[in-house]
């Protein structure tokens, strides 16, 4: 019963039109249909946070979001947070400064989550950062540097 549906998605300020099966998640739409591979597929089951994107400014898991659910919403991915001139977002710069990664696979999700965490006002202390970033796992264990990067970015915000 393969039927496709037509969707128009607003991603990083640009409109994309695509035809997908209804079961296609936002994550697979980004990676497989739109070649926006900055968003990573980790567990694909809502447990690791690697696929974190923003929908209307809120951080969500794109692996548990159907592409069909986000028509008309503003989607932001890791490709969309640096300035037009290529200058890194302050959170990206802080991650580089603090070496807040090892293999780097969780990093786009960590950064998208951190940008929202700071905007929500949930980055007031190391303890609060650890709690509100707990949905982003880092199997290399770069947590101490991640917390330091988020804290510095929050202090500069």
């Amino acid at each position: 019963m393969t039927r496709t549906i037509h969707l128009s998605l607003d991603i990083n300020g640009r409109r994309y039109d695509l035809d997908v099966e209804p079961r296609v998640t936002l994550l697979d739409a980004l990676r497989e249909h739109l070649a926006l591979t900055g968003t990573k597929k980790g567990c694909d089951q809502g447990q690791c946070g690697a696929c974190t994107c923003h929908v209307d400014g809120s951080r969500v898991l794109s692996c548990l979001t159907l592409a069909a659910q986000v028509e008309g919403r503003q989607i932001t991915t890791i490709e969309g947070i640096a300035a037009e001139n290529g200058e890194l977002h302050p959170v990206q710069a802080a991650f580089v400064e603090h070496d807040a990664f090892q293999c780097g696979y969780c990093t786009p999700g960590q950064i998208m989550s951190a940008v929202a965490c700071i905007r929500e006002g949930h980055a007031g202390s190391d303890e609060e950062i650890r709690e509100y970033m707990s949905g982003n796992l880092c199997r290399c264990g770069a947590y101490n540097s991640i917390v330091a990067a988020v804290r510095e970015a929050a202090e500069m915000a």
Partner: protein, 327 residues
């Protein structure tokens, strides 16, 4: 994940009508449905997207209580100033659950309907036997790894625990689910497994949760949600307690006490025996600890979950002592 057809509902009535069809399922936050569709536990033929509906996401709090629309997000309710002031246990139960991302997605109606985390239920390819998934097929959990399974409300067919936190706080304060045409207390909304573990709630085909109401009370205003778990964050409860307390005018005799447990039972579990033992008394650590043990009346362990019978009363006692100002 098997493919399905997709219907974007333009009204609640349209959604309910479409949901009458066998094989149809409502989609709200998607955090349970898509997860279980990927596991192969749910294989819907039609997904009815209700997230574009308006008017179902409001949060209202006044002197009589709160009314929370079914499509309000967990995070919105957790952070709502009125909820935090009048129902701290409800707010805390939400902010201690899941992750920030999931709380931005999952809705209040969907939160009630989350399914058990029983690992045998969640892996049909590896464990075909599951009375909840496939009635009559057996139970792989019994005799298996049971650390996270229930000790209260179990039956010969199912020991899967209800994983949610919010519903625990809601039953402590007599919350009610609105189902469009009728209302049901949250406590009665959930069913014991008995011989029909596949039936988890009284929700009928074609019904939809539209809102949850919680009556205001002094006990709800002085309440807490204590959650003990294997990790500090982003983990389901090993044992949890929602507790609310009101003193008489003397400031020391218990007038009203509410106690509910999570992580230990097959449904959100109200511990009325604990409440009755302490109402009308003056609290002391000793009486609270003794009364809290009543929460485990009828508890049955299945191997590795035995620790819950020791842990849960301590969680209850700690929560009571906290809201009673004794800890």
């Amino acid at each position: 994940m098997r493919d399905f057809s997709y219907l974007r509902a333009s009204s609640a009535d349209e959604a309910r009508q479409a949901a009458l069809q066998a094989g149809s399922v409502l989609l709200a936050g998607g955090t349970t449905l898509l997860d279980l569709a990927k596991c192969g536990v749910m294989e819907p033929e039609t997904v009815i997207d209700i997230t574009y509906l308006s008017g179902l996401g409001g949060i209202e709090v006044d002197a009589n209580g709160a009314r929370i629309g079914a499509l309000a997000k967990m995070g919105e309710v957790a952070d709502h100033a009125g909820i935090r002031a009048a129902f701290p246990a409800v707010s805390e139960s939400l902010s201690l659950a899941a992750s920030a991302q999931l709380r931005n997605m999952a809705t209040i109606g969907g939160n009630l309907l989350q399914r058990t985390r029983c690992s045998y239920f969640r892996e049909p390819d590896v464990f075909p036997a599951c009375h909840k998934r496939n009635p009559g097929s057996g139970c792989s959990a019994m005799g298996g790894i049971t650390r996270n399974h229930a000790v209260l409300g179990t039956s010969d067919t199912c020991i899967a625990s209800y994983p949610g936190d919010l519903a625990v706080a809601l039953i402590a304060f007599d919350a009610v689910v609105e189902l469009g045409g009728r209302t049901v207390s949250v406590d009665d909304f959930f069913l014991l497994p008995g011989n029909t573990p596949e039936r988890e709630t009284v929700l009928k085909r074609g019904e939809m949760i539209t809102a949850i109401t919680v009556p205001a009370s002094a006990a709800a205003r002085n309440s807490t949600y204590l959650k003990v778990r294997d990790r500090q964050s982003y983990e389901f409860a090993a044992a949890s307690a929602a507790v609310g307390l009101e003193f008489e005018a003397d400031g020391r005799t218990v007038r009203d006490l509410r106690v509910a447990l999570g992580g230990v039972a097959t449904k959100p579990w109200r511990a009325r025996a604990v409440e009755q033992a302490l109402i009308g008394t003056v609290l002391s650590p000793e009486t609270v600890e003794a009364a809290s043990r009543l929460a485990m009346d009828g508890a049955v362990s299945h191997g590795a979950n035995h620790y819950k019978i020791e842990l849960a009363p301590r969680v209850v006692a700690r929560a009571i002592l906290k809201v009673g100002g004794l800890a």
